[in-house]
């Protein structure tokens, strides 16, 4: 090799050589506490002190479900003279430790997607200057940047089990791990996994061992939140009425076969009405056949009734493991018998392969923009903006997609194309009589407070196709002017100030044209809107529907 050739070799391998340096530092620092790739839990902070460098981009796995909590806690205890100014990459900020690293000066920059439980503290830290927010993303957007300009140097992930070679079994809660591990491992970064158990033989390999640098068995299993469990006992009659309207006025109307549901009680009510109300309408086999959805316990009765043909999941749900394993025709289950979820794929599936997204929100303005931002809290987006957006790159047709596209373009001289249905389902008043409809979103004020480039809008008005409230359904696809759109929204906004401000004559005209539909226009008998219509009325009902396979977490066992 000539001198220039060897110099060229050095020039293009800085990351690989840096990786080797890090591995050598760890070997020297840990000595006997390192057994191949296996690190003793008692030495985790020493591992971090040796492997991390100031300014590193560090991805800490944690989303709204599983959390690499042991690694996250350990990261708050590193030596700040050696490790500082980290640039944290997080799907979800949900544990106090996620912010402690900023308080302690270990990290200074943050790119993330969602921060529900820590949203208030995040806003305060950002204001104090201890934390510099790069940007707030959707999940898919953040994963995408891991492969472009936010590639992690070190990633801290969580798995169920590892073997001695570092192969990982992530099982039902695979979630974000493949995206994070792939981006890190193939760009000379280092993946560190906390596992519940180190075993000789894994049930299956979810992450190949040669992508993984180190494995540590955490003293306690990783934390996981049962985020998608909704107790049917808490579903109200108004939610039953709205679910009836959704099924008759939207699912049946557009023959929606492929869909994604939000996580609220509104959509849980729909799930529980499929085997009763929708079945009575003769809709079995015609609607709601294929889902991008976490394994919602509320979907069990519909699955058992044969409504549901397939479900692909972002993550798993505590207590659903045995039920899922026993229904491999419906869920994505490996040869080992446990499910594999994948957040990145499921987000892509929800965006491109579903005809409808339906979910709740906190505020809707007169253009139909929808936001969950509230003052003093930087909550972020999660997956909703990708689920609740027309897929502009989609090309394959379906009945629902074609019909929505046709309605939006009727009478206009444009080339035909389809459109995704994006439904916002809200009661006009939330708790404490807070109106869901507003002239101006709180997001504007939050943007000003937190110095954001844009108000944080969850779903833009031009993507919303229907707004469903207890008062009726507004079909925004059929509106032809800004004024019509505004009146259609006011026309279902109930007794909120926005609703009271309607032009009654124009709203009646929109109703005559079928742009607004009341329950009576849909032929819905309000006397039927009782909890008797729910296929399961409480948690015990869900367990019974599952044939005893569903095992709800303790806090949901109220019998």
């Amino acid at each position: 090799m000539t001198q220039s050739e060897s110099q060229a070799g050095l020039r293009w391998t800085t990351q690989q050589r840096n990786r080797s340096d890090r591995l050598a530092r760890v070997q020297a620092a840990l000595g006997g506490a390192l057994d191949g790739k296996i690190v003793q839990a008692s030495h985790i902070v020493e591992l971090f002190n040796a492997v991390l460098e100031p300014g590193d981009r560090v991805c800490l796995e944690g989303n709204n479900q599983k959390q690499a909590d042991f690694l996250g806690k350990a990261l708050t205890r590193v030596d700040t003279t050696r490790v500082h100014d980290l640039h944290m990459l997080l799907s979800v900020l949900s544990l106090p430790e996620h912010l402690d690293v900023f308080d302690k000066g270990i990290a200074s920059k943050l790119d993330f997607s969602f921060s529900g439980p820590q949203a208030g503290r995040l806003a305060k830290l950002a204001q104090s200057g201890k934390l510099n927010i790069g940007a707030i993303h959707t999940y898919l957007e953040l994963f995408s940047r891991y492969f472009i300009d936010l590639t992690p140097r070190v990633s801290l992930v969580a798995a169920e089990m590892a073997d001695r070679e570092g192969n990982l079994y992530t099982g039902a809660n695979t979630e974000d791990t493949p995206a994070i591990a792939e981006a890190t491992a193939f760009k000379s970064g280092i993946v560190i996994a906390q596992v519940n158990r180190v075993v000789d033989k894994l049930p299956r390999v979810d992450i190949p061992g040669d992508w993984v640098g180190y494995v540590v068995q955490s003293p306690t299993p990783y934390y996981i939140e049962p985020l998608f469990t909704r107790d049917p006992a808490l579903i109200s009659e108004i939610q039953v009425l709205m679910a009836m309207m959704a099924i008759k006025g939207i699912y049946a109307e557009y023959e929606i076969e492929r869909l994604n549901h939000g996580i609220g009680f509104d959509t849980a009510a729909i799930e529980l009405l499929l085997p009763t109300y929708a079945a009575d309408l003769g809709l079995k086999g015609k609607i709601a056949r294929h889902w991008a959805l976490n394994p919602h316990p509320a979907l069990i009765p519909a699955i058992e009734a044969g409504f549901v043909e397939s479900v692909h999941s972002f993550g798993s749900e505590l207590g659903m493991e045995k039920y899922i394993s026993a229904r491999p025709d419906v869920f994505f289950v490996g040869p080992d018998g446990s499910m594999r979820s994948n957040r990145a794929f499921c987000q892509a599936a929800g965006h491109y392969a579903c005809d409808m997204f339906i979910g709740s929100t906190l505020q809707i303005d007169l253009q139909g923009n929808s936001s969950t931002a509230t003052l003093g809290r930087i909550a972020g987006f999660g997956g909703a903006p990708n689920m609740g957006a027309d897929a502009r790159g989609r090309r394959h047709p379906s009945k629902a997609w074609l019909k929505a596209g046709e309605q939006a373009r009727a009478g206009r001289d444009t080339i035909p194309r389809g459109q995704k249905l994006v439904v916002q389902m809200v009661e006009t008043f939330r708790e404490h009589m807070a109106p869901a409809f507003v002239e101006k979103l709180d997001a504007w004020q939050l943007a000003e407070q937190a110095n954001m480039a844009l108000p944080p809008v969850m779903i833009y008005g031009d993507d919303v196709t229907h707004i469903l409230t207890e008062e009726g359904i507004a079909n925004l696809l059929l509106c032809r002017t800004v004024e019509e759109r505004e009146q259609a929204i006011r026309g279902v906004a109930g007794y909120t100030p926005v609703g009271m401000g309607r032009d009654k004559r124009m709203v009646e005209n929109l109703r005559d044209r079928g742009i607004i539909k009341r329950p009576e226009d849909l032929g819905i008998d309000k006397r039927m809107a009782t909890r008797d219509l729910l296929a399961a009325k409480n948690m015990k009902g869900l367990v019974r529907a599952s044939g005893g396979l569903y095992d709800p977490p303790k806090r949901f066992r109220n019998w």
């Binding site: 109200s236 009659e237 108004i238 009425l241 009661e427 006009t428 008043f429 009589m433 409230t469 207890e470 008062e471 109930g494 007794y495 009271m500 008998d525 309000k526 006397r527 809107a529």
Partner: protein, 108 residues
Amino acid sequence: METLKYRFEQGRRSLAGMPQLVGVVGSGNLEVLIEPSPLQGACEIEVRTAAVGFGATWQAVMADFHDRWSLADARISINDMGATPAVVSLRLDQAVESLTGAVSKESA
């Protein structure tokens, strides 16, 4: 506690049948008693509500209810524990539907 009273004249739909009670008095809910009463074609509504200061909203909810049903010779009593307008309207509609339903069953 606040008591609100409404009277709508010249209803077109006369009520007959047994009094109907729907709903329960519980947080965020309400109880509606609806009964036929000789009121010279009017519909009288009395609301006792735990939530003070929502008079304008009640007025609008009741006016819309009257627009929908135009009841005559009907007395409605409401015990409210902070129900949203949505729940109020649903209960009222359920009460009327169950009463008129009962009427048609009797005549059949």
